[in-house]
Symmetry: D4
Subunit: 253 residues, 8 copies
Amino acid sequence: MNIRKLEDLLKKVKSGKTTLDEAMAQLKSLPFEDLGYARVDHHRSLRKGFPEVIWGEGKSSGQILSIMKQLKGKGQNILITRLEEKKAKGIQKVFPKSKYYPRSKVLTYLTHPVKSEGKGTILVITAGTTDIPVAEEAEVTAQFMGNRVETLFDVGVAGIHRLLSERERLEAARVLVVVAGMEGALPSVVAGLVSKPVIAVPTSVGYGASFGGVAALLGMLNSCGSGVTVVNIDNGFGAGYAASQINALAAKP
Amino acid sequence: MNIRKLEDLLKKVKSGKTTLDEAMAQLKSLPFEDLGYARVDHHRSLRKGFPEVIWGEGKSSGQILSIMKQLKGKGQNILITRLEEKKAKGIQKVFPKSKYYPRSKVLTYLTHPVKSEGKGTILVITAGTTDIPVAEEAEVTAQFMGNRVETLFDVGVAGIHRLLSERERLEAARVLVVVAGMEGALPSVVAGLVSKPVIAVPTSVGYGASFGGVAALLGMLNSCGSGVTVVNIDNGFGAGYAASQINALAAKP
Amino acid sequence: MNIRKLEDLLKKVKSGKTTLDEAMAQLKSLPFEDLGYARVDHHRSLRKGFPEVIWGEGKSSGQILSIMKQLKGKGQNILITRLEEKKAKGIQKVFPKSKYYPRSKVLTYLTHPVKSEGKGTILVITAGTTDIPVAEEAEVTAQFMGNRVETLFDVGVAGIHRLLSERERLEAARVLVVVAGMEGALPSVVAGLVSKPVIAVPTSVGYGASFGGVAALLGMLNSCGSGVTVVNIDNGFGAGYAASQINALAAKP
Amino acid sequence: MNIRKLEDLLKKVKSGKTTLDEAMAQLKSLPFEDLGYARVDHHRSLRKGFPEVIWGEGKSSGQILSIMKQLKGKGQNILITRLEEKKAKGIQKVFPKSKYYPRSKVLTYLTHPVKSEGKGTILVITAGTTDIPVAEEAEVTAQFMGNRVETLFDVGVAGIHRLLSERERLEAARVLVVVAGMEGALPSVVAGLVSKPVIAVPTSVGYGASFGGVAALLGMLNSCGSGVTVVNIDNGFGAGYAASQINALAAKP
Amino acid sequence: MNIRKLEDLLKKVKSGKTTLDEAMAQLKSLPFEDLGYARVDHHRSLRKGFPEVIWGEGKSSGQILSIMKQLKGKGQNILITRLEEKKAKGIQKVFPKSKYYPRSKVLTYLTHPVKSEGKGTILVITAGTTDIPVAEEAEVTAQFMGNRVETLFDVGVAGIHRLLSERERLEAARVLVVVAGMEGALPSVVAGLVSKPVIAVPTSVGYGASFGGVAALLGMLNSCGSGVTVVNIDNGFGAGYAASQINALAAKP
Amino acid sequence: MNIRKLEDLLKKVKSGKTTLDEAMAQLKSLPFEDLGYARVDHHRSLRKGFPEVIWGEGKSSGQILSIMKQLKGKGQNILITRLEEKKAKGIQKVFPKSKYYPRSKVLTYLTHPVKSEGKGTILVITAGTTDIPVAEEAEVTAQFMGNRVETLFDVGVAGIHRLLSERERLEAARVLVVVAGMEGALPSVVAGLVSKPVIAVPTSVGYGASFGGVAALLGMLNSCGSGVTVVNIDNGFGAGYAASQINALAAKP
Amino acid sequence: MNIRKLEDLLKKVKSGKTTLDEAMAQLKSLPFEDLGYARVDHHRSLRKGFPEVIWGEGKSSGQILSIMKQLKGKGQNILITRLEEKKAKGIQKVFPKSKYYPRSKVLTYLTHPVKSEGKGTILVITAGTTDIPVAEEAEVTAQFMGNRVETLFDVGVAGIHRLLSERERLEAARVLVVVAGMEGALPSVVAGLVSKPVIAVPTSVGYGASFGGVAALLGMLNSCGSGVTVVNIDNGFGAGYAASQINALAAKP
Amino acid sequence: MNIRKLEDLLKKVKSGKTTLDEAMAQLKSLPFEDLGYARVDHHRSLRKGFPEVIWGEGKSSGQILSIMKQLKGKGQNILITRLEEKKAKGIQKVFPKSKYYPRSKVLTYLTHPVKSEGKGTILVITAGTTDIPVAEEAEVTAQFMGNRVETLFDVGVAGIHRLLSERERLEAARVLVVVAGMEGALPSVVAGLVSKPVIAVPTSVGYGASFGGVAALLGMLNSCGSGVTVVNIDNGFGAGYAASQINALAAKP
C-alpha cells in the first residue's frame, strides 16, 4: 500500500464511501513492510549525505559501474572496498576523478566534498608495517565518513618504547583503532594506556600457527585490557565504520 | 629514584654541590619506570571515583576480602565479577551493605553513591531469556560506572516482530549492547535498525554445534551489519565497560 | 498505536476533526510493529491448537510452572524439552496429569487431546541403542504435533542387513528422521533406499575423535545421499518439528 | 542368480529333478544382491523420468561426454553440477542444445521437456548478491526436477525491511531454500515468519573468521528458528534436491 | 519370509498348488533381508565361538544383565567394555564367575573356555604407565578372541633405550598394538624397527594442547613410519579386535 | 668402532697385548650405533628385494634421478609417489622403461620382475569415481610389493545394492582397502560384511564441511564397524603398504 | 648379552677356545640394547644427584609411595607434579618431611640438600594472580634443580607500567619464564625488553574464546618478540626444567 | 622533553629562575618515553654489532633496498628472511656482495665480518630432507649471529639407528635445534638422549591431517621429553635466534 492508496482510503472514509469498519480492516492488514520501506526512506533522509558502501569482492566491473552510476545520479559519495587493482583501473576510465588506494584496495568517488564535522580525532595504530593495508582501509573509511584521522604505524609490543614515546598522541585521540597480526597483543597495551574506546582489528599477517589471523583474533577477544571490542580479521572497513559511529556520537549534544 | 631523591638532586644543583653535567647524567638514566608510576598515579587521580574491578574467579574469599578492605579504605566503590554465591555470602557477612546479583554472579559495594553523569541511555538487549545472566553483568557494570541503563529481553530474531515493536526504544539509546547465544544473529538485525554503536556479546547458551558460544561469536564477527564490534563469549562485563567508555565520550564536549 | 486509537483517528477523519494531511502524517509514522504484533496474533490464531514449546534448560521450576499455568489458562497443550528429572518431579506434583519421558527428558501436558490429522507416517530410526534418547525427543515432539510416528531402533550400518530387512517400513514412511552418533553414516544409506525426505540428527554418542557429535555432524553434512538435510547435534526436537512441518504440508491440498 | 536360473530351479522342483531340501539349500544361499539389483531396477522404473545427476568436479570432459551419451541413449534428462566453464564449452560443442549457467556452473541437457507436476512453489532466497551462484544451483536443480521456482535475492538481515516487505511471497511458498554466507542469520528470521519447511544453505561468502562458510553453517545449525534443516556449505544442489522431494510429497494424496 | 514359509512355497510348487509364475513373483519380491538374515546366521555359525561384545556405556545394569542372560542361554562368551565399576559389581552378583578389570573397565564372562588357536603373539606396548588402561582393553579383547598376548609397558620415546633393549620381543611379535598419549610418537619408532603390522592407539593422556588425545591421534596419522594404521582415541577394544583379525588371518592357510 | 677395529681388538686380546679388563672397558662403551647400523644392514639383507620408496613431493628431478641411479646400481626396484607429471616426463627420458600412473602420480621402475608370493588377494574399494586416484596409489604400491590386487570402484553407500551385489568378491579378499571421501561411511559397511582386516583411507574428495578430508577421516575413526583401522587423508601408499604387511604375514607359516 | 657373558667370550678368545671369526660373529650381533642400557647407566651416573620426577596424575597413592620408597632407597631427591591434595596428605603421613605446595600441587622430598650451583637467577613472571599456580610449578621445579629463582607476579600488559618499573630485575635475570593466560601477550613485551632467553608458558586462565589456554598458546607461538620459545599449556614444570637446563649451561665453562 | 630542555631546566634551577617546586613538577611529568628512547639507544650500543633483521614477506624490493641502505650506512650487518628469489635477484644487483640462500629464502649482507665468539656449537637436526629449508633458516640465522653451527639432516625416528649412530655429535652440542614435520616426534627422542636445551621447530611438511604443520606443532608441545621448548611452524629464524641467545649466555661468565 503506497501513499496514494492510503490517501484514497482516507478520502473515502471522509466522504463516507468507505465505512469505518472497512477502513479498519484494510488498515489492520496494512502491509507494514511498505510503511517500513517509507520509514527507511525517511530514516535515510535523516542521514543524508552518508556515503553508500559497495563490497567490491565478487562483483564484476560492469555491476560496480552500474551501481556507481545510479548512486552518482542521486548525488551520493561512493566508497568501494576490496576492489582489485585491475577492476579499479577500468572504473577509473569511466570515473576519472575517483581515487584508488592500491595498498588497501579501496576506491572513493566524491560527488560533493566530505563534510568535516569538527569532531575529535580517530587514531589508527598498527603493530607492524605489514598491517598497514588493513589500517588504511579503516583510515580511508573514517575519512570518507567525515572524520579527522591520524595514523601511528609500526609500534608493536616487542619494542614497547616505540609505543610509549607516542603516549601523548594516544591520549589525544577520541577513538582508537588498533590493527595487529601475529599475537595481536597491541590493543591490550593501548587499552591500558588510555581511557578511550579501543577497536581492535586482527590481521591475517603472520604464518604457521597464526592461522590466517585467528591467533590475533583470539588474542584480542581475550584481551586483559578492559573495554576492547573486536571486529573480524582484516576488517579495516568495519573498524573505521564503528569508530565513525562512536565519533559521530561524541559530536552530538 | 623516588620523589625525595629527585628533590635532593635539585637542591644539590641549586647549591652547586652537584654540577650540571652530573645532574644531567643522573637524570638521563632516571629510571622512567618510577616516573611512569608517578604518571599512572597522576592519571589515576584524574579518573578519581572510577570503580575498581575484581575478577572473582580463582580468588579465595580471604583474598577478596583483603582487597575489598584496602579499596574501602581508599573510599572507592567496588565491583566484583564472576563471584560464586557461596563466596558472596561470606563477603556479605563482612560487608553487609554490599549487593549481590545471583543471576550474573556480580557483587557491588558502594562507599559513596555512583555519580550519574547525565549522559544518554545504554540499552542492553537479549535474544532469549537464558542470555539474561550475561546481560545483567553488562547492566550492573554500566550502572556501576554511572550510566543510565535500560533492558529489552527475549527479542530474538525467530520472532522478529518482538524486536520491531520496540524500535523506538532502540532508536532512543545512545549505545546498544546486544547479547545472544545460539546463532548470534540479533546484533546484525539491530545494527540494521539503528545508527548507533552496537556491541555484540556472544553467550555460551546453546548445545551441540554451538560449541560453548563459538557459533554465536563467529556469527557476530561475520555480521553483515556495519559497525558491530564484538567482545569475548559471556563477557558481559567487557561490553558494559566498553559501552560506558563510549557513553562517557558522548557526554564530553 | 492500538486498535482503539486507529478507530479514533478514522472517526476524526470522517468527522473532519482531523484533516487528511494530518491523518496521513500520523499513519505514515504508524508504528508498524504494533500492526506487526496484530498480524502475529492473527497468524497465531490461524495456527490455533499448535502447541507451545518451552526449552527447559536453564529455567527454574518456578519459572516453568508460571509459564505452564499461563499456557494452561489459554487452553494450550504444552511441550517442555531438556527438563531434568528432578524438576519434572516437582512439576508433576502441580500438574499430575503431565507425562514425563525420562530417557529424552521431555514433559508433555495436554489440556485437550492432540488432533490427529490423518497424514502419513513419520519414521524415526536410530543407528544404535544409545541414540534412542534423542530419537525419543523427535518422536514425542512429532506425536505432540499430531503426527503418526513409528520407530526403528538399532539398525546401524555395521550390520546392514538389519536395515535392509526393514525396507518395507522405510518405503512406507512419508518423512524419515535418522538419528546416529559415531560416524553418522546411517542417513546416507537410508537416503539411498527411499525417495522421501530424510532429516539427519547427529548425536553426541561416541568417544575420542567423535568430538561430542562433530564427527557424526560432518558425516551427515557431507552425505553422498541426495536430499539429506541436517539439524544440530542431539536436536531431536528440531528434527521432529521439521518432520511435522513437512508432513503437515503433505496433508494439505 | 538371475531370473532364468531361478525359473530353472523352480521347474526342477516341480518336476522332482531337484528335491525340496536341495532347493531350500540353494535358495538359502541365494545371492540376495542379485535380487537386490532386480529390486533396484524395479524401483528405478517406478521413478522413471527422474533425472540423472553428474558431479562435474574431478571428471574429464571425455568422461562426462561418455556418461552423457549413455544417458541420452536411455532418453534421460541430464543435470551436471560443478562444471567449469572450459569443460562446459567443450560439451556444448557435442551437445549444442545443452544449456550452461556460468554463475552456478550447472549444465542441463533435456531429451524431453521437464514435466511440470502442478505442485506449489519453491522459493529460493539469498542474503546477499554474492550468494546468488549457490542459489542458482538450487534453482536450476529444482526446476530440472519439475518444480515451479521463484527467487528473492539480497534480502539479508542487516536491512530487515527488505525481507519484511516480501512477506506475502514468503507465505505463498510451499518450501523455502534460504542461502546466506557471513553470519548465516537469514534462515532463522525467515523461519520465524513462515510455517513452511525452511532448508538453509550456508555459503563460503565472507572473509576472515567466516572460515569459508563455517560461521554461516554453525549459525544455521544453531538456528533459534524451529524447523530449520541445513545442508553442506555451498550445496545448492542438495537444497534444491531436498526441496523437490518435499514438494513432490506435497503433491501426492 | 522365513524358512518354513519358503519350504511351504516349494512344496506348493512341487504339488502344483502354486504355478511357476506365482512362485517366481513371490520369490522375486522375496524380502532378501530375511535371507540376508539367514546368511548372517550361517555366517555366524562359521565364526562359532566368536564372542559377543557389549558396549557398556549408556546402558543400565538391567539392560546389560538382560542381554547377558540371552547370550549365556546361547552358550556364548561375553565381553563388556566401558563398564563402570559400580555396574560391574551389580553384574558380578548375578554372574559371580565373571571377571572384571577395573583399570580398563572391561568385564568378561565365559560360558566355555576361550579356544587358543595356536597363532603368533600380539604384543601390546605403551609409552607411559598412564596409557595402561587403554592397553589393557586391547589386551583383554585380544585374549578373549583367542590370541596369545604379551605386553611391554612404559617404553616411551623420551628414553629410547628402554624400547631398544626389548627389540627381540618386538621382532618376535606377529602384530603390534602401540598405545601412546601426549605426542604419540612411539608407533613411528616401533614401525621403523619391525616389519610387522603396527596398530596405533592414541590415548587421551596429557593436558593442555594434547586436546584429549588429538595431538597423539594426529601424530599417529602423520607417522613417518610406513604401515602404521590408527584407531580412535582410547579405542583399545578396536585395536585388540583388529589385531585379532590380522592374527587370525595369519593362522589360516 | 668399525669391523676392522673390532677385529684388531680381538687379536690383541688373543695375543695378550690387551688385557681382558681393557677389552671389557672398550667393548662396554662400544658405540652401539655402529653395530646398530650393522644390524640394520643385516636386517635389510633379510628383506632383500624389498622395494625402496621415494616421496616425490618437494624433491627436484635432479635429486630424484640421483637417488634412482644409486638404487638401480644396487639392483633394486623403485617406487616414487606424489610425482608431478612434469617431473615424471623428465625422469622417463632417463629411465624410459619406468612406468608412470598419471592419475595417482606414481612412478615405478623395475630392475627385476616383482616376485609374486602366492598370497591372498588385496581388494581396493572406492566409494566414488573421484576417489580412484588415491585407490590407485594403494593398488600400485601393493602390486609393487608383490601382492595380487583387485579393485572395486564406485560402490558408495548411497546405493548400497552396488556394494551388496559384490559380496562374494568382498568375502574372497584377504585384506580390504576401502577408500572414501565425503562422509567416509563405506568402511563401516564393508567391515560389517566381512571378517577380514579393513584399512580405511579417507580422501580429500568433497567440498564445504568436508574440510579437505577431515569429515571422512573422523567418520572412519568413529566407525561402528569393529576392526577398522585408518591411515592419513589421501594416503593410498600407506594403506597399500600396511595391506602388504598383513598379506605377507598371512603367507607365512 | 650381559657383562659376564662378554667376559666369558673374551676369555675364550684369549684361550683360543673361540676363534676370532666366531667371536666377531657373536659380537656383531651383540644386542646393543644391553650395552645401550649400560651406556645409560653410565650416563645417569654423570648426572648423579639429579632429581627424579614423578607425574602424579593418574597414579594411585600406593603406586606413588612405592616409587618414592625405591628412590629414597637410592638416596635421590624426589619431585612429584600434578598431585591432588588428598593424595599428598596420604603421602605426607608416610614421608612427614616432604613438602607440599597446594597451589601448584607439587610435592618435594629431599634425601639430601639441593646443591646450589652458583649460577645466575631464573626470573618467573606472571601476567595475573590467577597464573600463579602454574608459575609456582616452574619455580619449585627450578629450585629443586638447584637454581636461584625469583618471582614477579601480576605485571600484565594492560598496566604496562607495572612491568616497566621492574626493568632492572628483568635485566638482571639470566633466564626468564613468563606465564600468562588470556591473550598471552606478556612474553612478547618482556622479550622486547631483555636480551636473555624467554620461555613462555600459556595458562588455561580465561573463559570463552580463550579455549582453555589455546588463545594464549597461539599468542605466544606468534610472538613478534624474537627468541621466545613456548611450552605446553599450564606446563610450569616443563618451563622450569628447560630454564634449568639453560641456566646449567650458563654455569659451565 | 629533549636533552637541551633538560639542561635549560637545570640551569634555571641553579640560577634560581625556577623554584625547586616548579622543577619537581616539570620533572614529574617528564615524558619518560623520550628517556626511554635514550635508554634504548644506550641499550643498543651495548649490543653493538648485533645484526638487524628484516622480514622480507610483504615488503617491496624498493622498501627493502631503502632499509638496507640505511643500515649499511650505520655499518650494520643485515639479515633478510622470507625473501622471494625474484626480489633477491633485484637486491643483489644493488648489493652484489650480498649472499642469497634460495632453499631458505634468506639473504645476508655483511658490512663487516661476523665476530665468532668462541662459544659452543649449535646443532641443527632435521627429520627429513624436506625439512631442510626451515633448518637452513635457523642455521644461517645462528651463523649470522656469530655462532658455530653444525647440521645433521634426515635422521627421523622411523629409522632410529640413523639418529643413534650420531649420538656423539648430539652430546657435543651446546644447544640443539630439531626441525621436523609430519608427527614431529624427533625432538622428544633427541631430548631423551641429551641433557642440553632442545628447541623444536615444527614444519609444514606433510599432507592430509598434518594440517600444514599443526600435527607436528602439537606433537612437540606435548613432547614427553623434558625441557623441549617450541617455536612457531616453519619458524627457523626464531629457533636460530633463541639458540643464539642461549649460546651467548653460555659464553659469559
